[in-house]
Symmetry: D3
């Protein structure tokens, strides 16, 4: 039944769902999100006056490492192999757009890994700019596309 929370059993108790019966297959997911920043913080990220060597780099690496920590953070996520993780950060007028693509060949989808990577990259970016912009906010963290598995290709409606 599509309307049930699959992570809960019939008594409402949490469980790691048994995926033994699922096929191993190529799966991928794309998630995106944005960090809304003040004009000053955006100008600083774009400016040539302040060295920014690692500014976006720290967030990108935090995102990639965050993808690997997904089963440690999300209680019911299966520990799975990850075959590729790419995190992109684009400075825009209102802040920074983050995109993460994750690939695997395993028994479960990787949308949680992609969402976690975007979230951790966003958190690390906020940590970088918080002295300049304490009001920075994370918004629109969501799955855009998902391929593989029984449900096949899903794109955000």
């Amino acid at each position: 039944m599509a309307s049930e929370f699959t992570h809960l059993d019939e008594t409402g108790a949490a469980r790691m769902v048994d995926v033994s019966g699922k096929d191993v297959g190529a799966r991928a997911a794309v998630a995106t999100g944005r960090v809304l920043l003040s004009a000053e913080a955006v100008a600083l990220l774009r400016s040539g006056e302040v060295p920014k060597g690692d500014a976006l780099g720290v967030a990108r690496i935090a995102g990639i490492m965050g993808a690997k920590r997904t089963p440690d953070l999300i209680p019911l996520c299966h520990p799975i192999a990850l075959h590729g993780v790419k995190v992109t950060l684009d400075v825009e007028d209102q802040g920074v757009a983050i995109t993460c693509r994750v690939k695997t060949a395993d028994r479960t989808g990787v949308e949680m890994e992609a969402l976690t990577a975007v979230s951790v990259a966003a958190l690390a970016l906020i940590d970088m700019v918080k002295a300049v912009d304490p009001a920075a906010a994370i918004t629109d963290v969501r799955v855009e596309e998902k391929t593989g598995g029984k449900t096949g290709h899903w794109t955000r409606p």
Copy 2:
């Protein structure tokens, strides 16, 4: 200079800022965020027809544990003591509102811990409902209030 990224040195290289000179003192932070859900997912969370024992509980615990993992996830965060963490989830018409309050007595603020707790709780909630609502999104993750330290009391403008 307020306009510099304090986590970067003069060459743009990332560093964990030296806080030896900061005073140990009571500090607290409140962060909030929301998970936007479909009407079906909200109805399911509110409905009595499906047992939901652990549905919100998993997210709450994931958030509390996430606060403790902050220095593991955010590259330049200092490992600090945490003296209290509270995560609240409220089911609303559009989804679930999440609030986290963190307290400590240490040399750095705890707004990153509060933001991380909200983000991880939100991710865990999405993991719970994703079979029902694959389009769930995290939005408005931000610091609302911060007390203690040199900057004193800050509230979101």
Copy 3:
């Protein structure tokens, strides 16, 4: 030779045993354990007077997450995939009975994961009740059943 500690080489040095030659196959294990509690703590867990929303839920989730941390905790355990983890807690007159079932399809058995889940769930439960019952004890943590692998089906004699 059955009487050797397989985790030690011929000089007595610890090693992670080479399982390259073992077949990938479906494997499962069931472990159980009990937390002995005072009558007051049991009554509190059963009582409707005190809200207990997360009381057993925290222990259940800690157990599931503990199963995933097994290779981090047990020095010579192989990092393996987990395909399903279920932790059950039943309040009984003398305390709480804990059962964990773990499934995988990999090269090693999952009895250590099941035992670790039971132990961590038990520890988390003690943490919940320790203000009420500082004398709580964990007992009878053991493998009940194990299937898959070269040794096939094993049940506790």
Copy 4:
């Protein structure tokens, strides 16, 4: 009120209890436990015929490292400093007796750290002997003594 679960708030929701108001002070705890083993496994641990260099050493080190992982494993435990951890394993006729002593100077007691160290040492020992004795069991894991903090000196009744 002594009869409440301090880790749950008035709605039954789990929280990391605020210990800001507690004094920093010297605290210590002793926990014990036993691993019940077959006569064959005990004989092997005592025998000089098989090199056992790391047999007990692996369990001892796993226990010490386990103490440090307590806040990662137990959802509501505070991350605290540890000033000393000692794990002792004694081979007895029925198995192995484990004792752990933990010291700190912080705002919370360390009985959960001591119990976790005993449990992880016991699990690691079972992992070492499981090919010889698949029926090994952990029993009697409990706090023996606790000093420091508001409650002062507590010994197992």
Copy 5:
């Protein structure tokens, strides 16, 4: 092109390289390293006067556990299965020689796991002897041999 850093994309941004197209196959790596110690520290390690039960054992176990932590430590390493890890420490006149052999059957090589195991074993050994020899140094940590994968058998020239 052999001269490119495969972990960077065409813009210089770090990524976890996509290995979906690589074959799963048996792979192995051997890495070595040395800890240079004072004559006093070497004599102590060799002497029968001071009990040294766990001296080398701690380093050996730290190395094995370190191999498992490789994807947590090295930002762009893939999380992979490990099928066997062996760490050897030999006391020599100038210090201690460390060798690690790692085996797997996965899509990437295991030389980083072998190097990490050697490094962590070396660090743990220095931690053991640092009160006696604060000038201890790690040297010559390097891959000696690597088999499996597209590049086949590689031995240090």
Copy 6:
């Protein structure tokens, strides 16, 4: 007695040494190390032809994060606060020189944290260049200077 391994008790068993009696005070350590690279790899790191945005940045961040993981990796290290971590990488003719400075105010020194940061930065750098230079080696990882604590100021002889 200076000639004893402080991490072993009188029976040779490993322990986390009790530092309760040590004073909390400002402590710092500097460690260095080098990664020896082929001329081709050095030229690539220096060349403007290949984008190298994150090449050294990944290693720098891995080092900083590695410092925070020290108590997880080194079995007998105390979990302590870190107040500042700085990792510097300089490309030289023979490879890359790495320096790490760590500061704290706690009961134990931070030389292990500094050594771990250098080692992990070196491992991450090797991971970046290994496709170009499979023979890269880590050498001369050692403490240069240490201040604070009972032993006061120590500099490498």
